[in-house]
Structure formats: structure tokens, C-alpha cells
Assembly symmetry: C2
Homo-oligomer: 289 residues x 2
């Protein structure tokens, strides 16, 4: 099973125009390839809601703050094409770097505020690269809907903000995190874990789940929650914590006390591999434990 | 003679969609109002090339680096509407500031490099504001063509770069500077000049014309040209020079020696009013004076 793979912006636009003339709606699933079940769930969702489903596969250099991470990022277009087709995609868009960033390129889209904490703090320039490439993909493909996973919660919040602020005519569809049976959130980076690291990586979701349960049992102190998560993650000897944050899920800002929709987010390194995960908890406003 | 004035993004989109359904192309003339013959020339050009002509009138606060300049900027929507209608516009788009920048707004579009010199150096944040609002106007109105004057040469270069880099599907149409009989480039800010300042303001174009003639007569040294322009402008006692620059007209970078397409650009203050002007000269490559 194979689907066409478009390499140029010009060709992409003409495929989109053709679909539009036939009255088909367009769904876009932006990816960096190395497709896993998380991506495939986005593609299936897009398939169920659109006439044409485009999966972009582009390892975007401008969102990597670490050259080694960029070089090590897994690439296998043939496998991606097969998996995307099986999940219902109609078309791959896989441009070369010079097609997206030709010589002289010098325009950047940046979201302030939302990008200052969490991954934004530990990966300078990362969200500027994400926003710029997503803005480009949205203007190139002009989709009705674009699909993003909640695993990258901050990315989802930043892109939603950008789309609203720049009046881009697209619905951003948030899709739930897909997990391994042991709770590890699916990520293309999981493939890089050694056997020992892989065995310890489920500690992220175990710690987040414990925090969620603590909130359900009445915990409202963000510092105590963060300490709980840190303590549990430290039980895995290979885990090196980048951050553990408890913030409000809309502005991603620190809380005095849990209230409303809250995000508990972590980033943890295992050797050279950085993993992120999060849970969202809804705390009824004004409630006191 | 009156034309409809649209205040909301939603209403604007629906007017554009209606025009599209009728097969009309769309031309956009972005302005900050206080329309003069320069703007009207853009509107007439747009009229000749499009089925629907939209003139946006929005004094964009994010491109002002000086609050007093923002407050003093002339505003007269009734007159603008009449003038735009007479020049052939179909529709004004005149949103409130909160419609364009609602609470929580935090996305910015920035062009690096091109914005570092000339007006970018003396007006920090100016082009970030310009790029952001123009990107928004282009996604809201989705025009086939957007019209800009060459008087704001750097703005035109920056917007062209942004449109190319972000793959915005619009043609940027550059239109020649319109001048008073004595050579003064039309600008909404001219209305703020005192009688004495107005009498001296034509020195900008006189100096630029002298520089152009010097190039035609063989001058190839950018420093000598800048000195010529500075010397002539200083003959006007009320003129306070902000910058005089001789740069290449594509990258807006300094030149060792004039060659190819070159830009001679000036910014000069008369009291509280800052005026800009420029000429472009084509120097045959490799030629020696």
C-alpha cells in the first residue's frame, strides 16, 4: 500500500486546490516522521473528519536546540508512508529543508508568555521553530483542521494561541496521549532508549498518576504535588529530571493553589534521550480540601 | 458617496467569502487612514486589477515606538471612506484595537536582517508590529493582491520577505511614490508640519535627486554620496537628520561601492514630525566610473 509523496510547496498547493474543487475538506497531521501509534491515532481521527488527509513528514531543523538531537532523530520515509496509508492518509508532504527554508529565509513567528516556562525554558528557540514551521504548513496546506497530540501539551497551547492571534482559518484538534501498556507515552524518541532506560521510563506516568490521585484525594498545594512527583521519579536511578511543573492549563503559569484546569508536566532525561509527559486535572473552583 | 465599513473579523471573512463565491478576485490596500493621493493611487491600481477592493483603515498601535506619535496620528474615518469610495474601493475594514489585539494576544511575526538598519535601527519594534498586523490582515482578508507604496521602501522589502517566507498566497504589488509638485513625498504626517517646516521639507527629495544625478554622472562611492545628501539636507535649518543610508536595494546592507540596484534612503525630523523618503538607482554591474 503506497500513497503519493509530495516534495514541493507548489505541488502541495495544487493537490489541495484539486481537492477543494471536488468539495473535499482538508485535514492536516503535522509530524516529524518516525510514526507511531500516537500519530496514527491523529491520522485516523483526521480520516473520520475530512475528505482529504495530508500527513506532513518534516524533521524541522529550526525547532532543535541541540544539533546531536537533530542528527539522531529517526528518519524512515518508506515505513512512515506505509503506516500513514494504513491509518487512512491520502498524501504525504515531505519537503526538503531547502524547500521550507530557502537561502535568505529570515521570518519567525513567536508566541511570548506561554513559551517562557516548561520546555520553552529548557529549549531556547524551540517554540519559535515550531510556530514558524506550523504557520508555514498551515498556509501551504490551508487545512480545515489540524491535529496535534496532548502529549506535547505546551506545543498544543502555543499553536492554539498562534492560530487565534494570527487569525489562521483552521480548527486545531487536540487528541489524547496514546500510551504503552505500562503507561509510557508514545514518542519517536522512545526508540533511542536502552533496554535499562526503557524499563525505567514508565516512572514518568506512574509519578503523574500518583499526583493526579493525590489531587483527587484533596491535595491543592502545587509545591507538595511537585515534590511528590520528583520523589517518585528519583526512585528510577537512570532518570535525570529536567523539570516538574504544576501550572494552570491555560496560561501555563505557576499556581499558588490548585484551582480550575491544572497541568502537571514533566521532562526527564534518560541518558541522551529527553522524554516529556503530562496530565491535566480539573479542580472545581473555590473548593477547599 | 459611501461604502460599507466592516468592523469585525467575522463580518470581513463573510464579505470575502461572498465575493469569492461570485468569482471575484480580492485586492487589499492596507492603510492607517488619513488617506492622501499616495493611498488613492494604490486604491485605483487595486480597482483596475481586482473584482473586490478592500481598504483597511487601522492605526496599528504595535508598530509605534512612540506613544505621542500614536496619539497624534490623524484619524478621520468619514473623510477616508469618501476618498476611498471615490478612488474605487468597495469596502472599508476598520476594526477596533481590541478586535485585532484581544486580551491575551501574544503572537509576533518578525523578519530578521532586513529590519536591522534604516528605520528598524531608529524605531525598535516597529517592523515587528508592521509584520504582525500585515500577516493578520492577509489571513483575515485572504486577498489575491496587496498594495504597498515604495515610499516605505524598507516596509515593502520586509513584507515581501515575510510573505515569501511564510508562504502566504498573495502577490505584493509595489506602487511608485506620489509626490507634491515641489517633490515632497506624500505622507499622512505632512499635515503635522508647520508652515516653515513644510517650506523646507522638499529638501529631502532635492538631496536624493542630487545623489541620483551624481550616480548617473559616475559617482560610485557610497560614503561620498551620503555626504552629498547630508550636506544638502543640512542647508535646511529646521531639518534634523535621523539617518542617510546608501545600501543595496535587496538585502538593505551597506555597500563598499555602488553596483546593481541600490537604495538611497533618508529619515529626517522637522520638529516632532519624522519624514522618510528614498530613491532607487540602477548601477550597471562591473562598471567603473
Amino acid at each position: 500500500m503506497a500513497i503519493p509523496c509530495v516534495k514541493t510547496i507548489r505541488e502541495m498547493r495544487s493537490s489541495i486546490s484539486a481537492a477543494r474543487r471536488e468539495g473535499r475538506s482538508v485535514g492536516l497531521v503535522p509530524t516529524m516522521g518516525a510514526l507511531h501509534e500516537g500519530h496514527l491515532s491523529l491520522i485516523r481521527r483526521a480520516r473520520s473528519e475530512n475528505g482529504l488527509v495530508v500527513v506532513s513528514v518534516f524533521v524541522n531543523p529550526t525547532q532543535f536546540d541541540d544539533r546531536r538531537d537533530l542528527d539522531a532523530y529517526p528518519r524512515d520515509l518508506a515505513t512512515d508512508s506505509r503506516l500513514a496509508a494504513e491509518a487512512g492518509a491520502d498524501l504525504l508532504f515531505s519537503p526538503e529543508v531547502t524547500e521550507m527554508y530557502p537561502p535568505g529565509f529570515s521570518t519567525w513567528v513567536e508566541v511570548t508568555g506561554l513559551t517562557e516556562r516548561l520546555c520553552g525554558a529548557s529549549r531556547p528557540g524551540h517554540f519559535r521553530g515550531v510556530c514558524t514551521v506550523v504557520a508555514k504548513l498551515l498556509t501551504i496546506c490551508a487545512p480545515d483542521r489540524a491535529y496535534f497530540g496532548e502529549k506535547d501539551f505546551q506545543q498544543l497551547a502555543v499553536i492554539s494561541r498562534m492560530v487565534r492571534d494570527l487569525n489562521l482559518p483552521v480548527d486545531i484538534v487536540a487528541c489524547p496521549t496514546v500510551r504503552e501498556p505500562d503507561g509510557l507515552a508514545l514518542s519517536s524518541r522512545n526508540a533511542r532508549l536502552t533496554e535499562a532506560e526503557r524499563a525505567q521510563a514508565p516512572v514518568l506516568f506512574r509519578a503523574l498518576s500518583a499526583a493526579r490521585q493525590a489531587v483527587e484525594e484533596g491535595e491543592r498545594d502545587p509545591v507538595a504535588l511537585a515534590q511528590l512527583v520528583v520523589g517518585l521519579i528519583r526512585e528510577a536511578p537512570l532518570a535525570d529530571i529536567d523539570y516538574v511543573e504544576v501550572v494552570d492549563a491555560v496560561r501555563l503559569e505557576p499556581l499558588e493553589r490548585l484551582e480550575g484546569r491544572c497541568l502537571i508536566a514533566v521532562a526527564v532525561r534518560f541518558g541522551g534521550t529527553r522524554l516529556i509527559d503530562n496530565v491535566v486535572v480539573d479542580v472545581p473552583g473555590g473548593e477547599r480540601a
